[in-house]
């Protein structure tokens, strides 16, 4: 094993693919150990959602499941590149959903075109504000943004429970927790733009975010500063980058995008504010960001791949009787092997023994 003078460009692109292949092999072994046909299980996970008999239903679901992951991961990737570690996207996602749904519910039952745009703005602002808390604390008191942003997830979860049980509870819900279903309130419903395609506004927002992030990183001075700060913080300072302002920007933008994802989810696929509204998109997005190499297009692909393992995994569960824990292990393997294979980007294998040097 020998360190490469420069990270290999070839391996940079090959390693995610290799990781997927190795995951398939190891996963197949796992499924075989559980007494299932490994080929059938792997085929069910990767083939069935895309080209199987009911692909007409699953393909749109890939967008539904992938969009929030991509939207959040894009925001996170900007920070990760600059060395700003926002681990609390899950909390920003919740607050964005609460802010967006709050605006929508406040207008109920008014029927007006401006309600949904207001909800979008509220969702983004909610996530932004929640993301700025660790940023401002870091700036003012030098706190660690990893810890603060993570802790704020639990605060957000408590707030979510309080809202679902109190102020946002459906007055016609017979005392059961959970808000009105926004899917039944057209002015606030984030419906499919074309019915049954899964293309809701969240998917559109994710696409826009991918393109904007690409332009920002490749063409804009801010993108240059982000990359420079991540690679050479001292050089960045000499180049006139204000690290505090950059950290705030990264936390703010990733918070706003996570907030948007939450808002689109609560007004669309989920429909209501409920105690268990968040299902871990904010954490899974961290995996997606790294799986996608922190590159906008990579993240879009990684988000879809992750969505594929979720949906294919569900099909494998119910069609083949695989336990859900096995599917979770399978997803975990993906990240594990990606990190393992990553070694090849920075190191190369030497087959011959190293010559003795005097």
């Amino acid at each position: 094993m020998e360190k490469r003078p420069q990270p290999s460009r070839r391996w940079l692109y090959l390693s995610p693919l290799l990781a997927v292949v190795v995951t398939m092999l190891a996963g197949g072994a796992l499924f075989a150990a559980l007494g299932k046909n490994p080929v059938e299980a792997i085929a069910t996970i990767f083939w069935e959602p895309l080209f199987g008999e009911f692909a007409f239903y699953y393909r749109p679901q890939l967008l539904v499941k992938g969009a929030p992951l991509v939207l959040i991961a894009i925001g996170l990737s900007l920070g990760f590149r600059a060395g700003v570690w926002n681990i609390g996207a899950e909390g920003q996602y919740i607050i964005g959903a609460l802010a967006g749904a709050g605006v929508g519910l406040a207008f109920f039952p008014l029927d007006a075109w401006f309600i949904f745009p207001l909800m979008v703005i509220a969702g983004a602002l909610g996530g932004l504000a929640w993301g700025m808390i660790p940023g401002l604390l870091k700036l003012r008191f030098g706190t660690n943004e990893i810890l603060v942003s993570l802790m704020l997830v639990y605060v957000a979860e408590k707030l979510l429970a309080a809202m679902a049980l109190g102020p946002m509870k459906n007055p016609e819900g017979m005392g059961f927790p959970g808000s009105r279903n926004l899917q039944q309130y057209p002015s606030a419903h984030n419906a499919d733009l074309i019915a049954d395609t899964g293309m809701h506004w969240g998917v559109v927002a994710a696409l826009i975010a991918v393109i904007f992030a690409y332009i920002l990183l490749g063409r804009h001075v801010l993108g240059y500063q982000i990359r420079l700060t991540g690679q050479a913080p001292r050089a960045a300072r000499f180049a006139g980058v204000n690290p505090a302002r950059l950290a705030l920007f990264c936390l703010g933008i990733s918070g706003a995008l996570a907030g948007l994802a939450g808002m689109f989810e609560v007004s669309g696929p989920a429909g209501q504010v409920s105690i268990d509204f968040n299902v871990g998109y904010g954490f899974t997005a961290i995996i997606v960001a790294f799986l996608g190499r922190l590159h906008p297009f990579g993240i879009a692909l990684a988000g879809l791949l992750m969505a594929l393992t979720y949906i294919g995994g569900e099909i494998a569960q119910s069609n083949l009787g695989l336990p859900s824990a096995a599917i979770q292990m399978f997803q975990g393997m993906l990240l594990f092997f990606l990190l393992a294979v990553d070694l090849l980007t920075n190191y190369r294998l030497r087959l011959t023994p190293r010559p003795e040097t005097a």
Binding site: F54, A55, Y57, L165, G175, Q272, I275, V279, I311, S324
Partner: protein, 362 residues
Amino acid sequence: MTLKTILTGATVALGLAAGAVIPAQAQDDKTKVGFIYVGPIGDGGWTYEHNEGRLAVEEHFGDQVETVYQESVPEGADATRAITQMALNGADLIFTTSFGYMDATLAVAEKFPDVKFEHATGYKTAPNLSTYSARFYEGRAIQGHIAGKMTESNIVGYIASYPIPEVIRGINAAFIHARKANPEVEFKIIWAYTWFDPAKEADAATALIEQGADVILQHTDSTAPQAAAEKAGGVVTFGQASDMAEYKPFPRVSSIIDDWKPYYIARTQAVIDGTWESHQVWDGIGPGMVAIGEITDAVPAEVKQEALALKDAIASGEYHPFTGPLKKQDGSDWLAEGETADDGTLLGMDFYVEGLDADIPQ
């Protein structure tokens, strides 16, 4: 994925939109029964018992039926997909076994008019959507009686899940009968906001024990509270949803068992016979949907006898756990002497009875 396949997908999806109703796929003549679980089968509680029901269906009908299930399905958007997926794959009857699946089940039921749906513990129905639930509060009354007799510190801890009517009803039923058995008893309630999370449940149990509780009741599904009680020593617990027999004879001195087997078999039979109709079922100890697990010798013989007598009285319908005179927590009258609670009030219960020193989270 090429542009062409994307376009093909979109075209199919559009065709689907035009047809609005998705035809369920007719497979072979086996009846396919699906189950959606909120926790893992290995939770040892709620989901475990539903899965026992599924296995009973397989055993009873043999080759006539095929069962499928999906465990740990989050409540919300993911549930819609899981249920749709089962319907697409030709399930004839689908049981969704948690309250939080209500809207998802209703939405999928509308798209698949030929598939029968059964939603546990909810209140929304449709021509092809039934609801079913058990009168767990009947078992809570018996637990409350034993708890009142067994406590020495006069503090009973209660691990509650979510502040929904079902859980509040259980707290009230247990409290009323604990007070009857022991007028000094106080309840301390912790809301865990989960149905199944061993770590949170263990924390809650430990916190209650530290506050002096020597009896712990739980409305969460794992055996973590039993383990915490065993570690602390001298603390009484009860099995929840399942017998949790591995903690017999102490700390687990009795249990409430949900027995879904007869119901699942009956409903599957109805689908096979073509006699299935939408209904709302709420059964208790009498019809056998709720069972009381063995009361161990850790309970004094006299208390055990009283508990069994209470169980028989409830089973025969001679006694209702909510019988007046009862007042609400704020002191206002609820039930007059001899009056019993109606199902409507019980199903929407959002208040504590008099004497409980706690607040329902708002």
